[in-house]
Symmetry: C2
């Protein structure tokens, strides 16, 4: 029997997407759900609503809280955590590779490696050289992948994914969609999204 | 032995504060924690960061999502839910009564009754007459309470509470503080806040 599918829309510069990316596979497996990873860019969506940076930078109280919350959440999940500088990182080069990776078995591994470098080790992921190094560490043909990722068809595909996210109501990351069109926003909704995808129509109270 | 205390900062116009207000007492009791209810106004805090309404109105995609999320969350918790019109409700008159209620045993009962009328039944809580009716239904001396609530010392106290919230980093509601100064934002953090207050320094992963 075909397993239900949950779409996982992630932005590689997003702190809370890191938390979901590093645990969604195990949780989805327990729930009997397949995950469809969908990279996109939050920048154009934030711009369209008048923000020229992350809300965590525009609203300092919210930003200070987020960093403390991330410390607590990563500790609870047993994940390493180090803040990259600057935040947010420019995720364009990495997102293009992740888009190309949608059709390849290394796609999700690459995304997790980016998050680990960026938020587990606090390293820059902004330069093509940083993305190149991550691909090399994964044993992949970095030169060939970066070339296709930077070509027009793949760039257009990232733009189309971002526009698809916006048109479906995405305003932050991570965001999850079930096959019957339910949208769940935030790492805090991951288990509810999986429960919904697997057929529980009312996600249990936590 | 003295029980640990969790401060519960709530805004009577806030949807997610409704969810916390209607369940915090039971959960706190299980956790062996005392709750200190602290009403305040989000309006001045939003104004200070350039917002003239709720972010759920200023950012329509976020607002549409919130209403759907509230439907799901209230269903999961077995709480009634009806959207008041307009949203947000002007909560000034009710907040003043809640401030006066801090020192009276009916304070938390009143706050819960306001939330139930506003989000359980979708009724207006904005007019003093609406607040008066809620007090009468609780068997309280509505005229006397409204008089003290509208007097200068009590109005000043609400302003001071709001300024205290802002100066301690509050940017939304509900917000929880433990005695050792940890801040938790949002109904989604209620159980973690209680766990932290009761002595668990790393709240378990959900």
């Amino acid at each position: 029997m075909r397993r239900p599918v949950l779409e996982f829309w992630y932005e590689l510069a997003s702190t809370y997407s890191y938390l979901s990316a590093l645990r969604i596979e195990g949780l989805a497996d327990e729930a009997g759900v397949d995950v469809r990873w969908r990279p996109f860019l939050l920048g154009p969506i934030f711009s369209a609503q008048g923000w020229n940076s992350s809300p965590f930078n525009l609203y300092p109280a919210k930003g200070r809280y987020m960093w403390r919350d991330m410390e607590r959440e990563t500790a609870a999940l047993g994940l390493p955590f180090r803040r990259p500088n600057p935040f947010p990182q420019n995720s364009l080069a990495a997102a293009r590779v992740a888009v190309y990776g949608i059709d390849h078995p290394w796609g999700t591994t690459f995304a997790k490696a980016v998050y680990h470098a960026e938020f587990g080790e606090g390293r820059s992921i902004a330069e093509p050289a940083a993305v190149h190094a991550i691909l090399v560490r994964l044993g992949l043909d970095a030169d060939a992948i970066l070339k296709v990722a930077a070509a027009e068809p793949n760039k257009t595909r990232l733009k189309a994914l971002t526009e698809e996210a916006r048109s479906r109501g995405v305003f932050g990351a991570p965001t999850f969609f079930t096959e019957d069109g339910e949208m769940f926003w935030g790492n805090d909704r991951l288990t509810q999204a999986l429960a919904w995808a697997s057929g529980e129509r009312v996600a249990g109270a936590r």
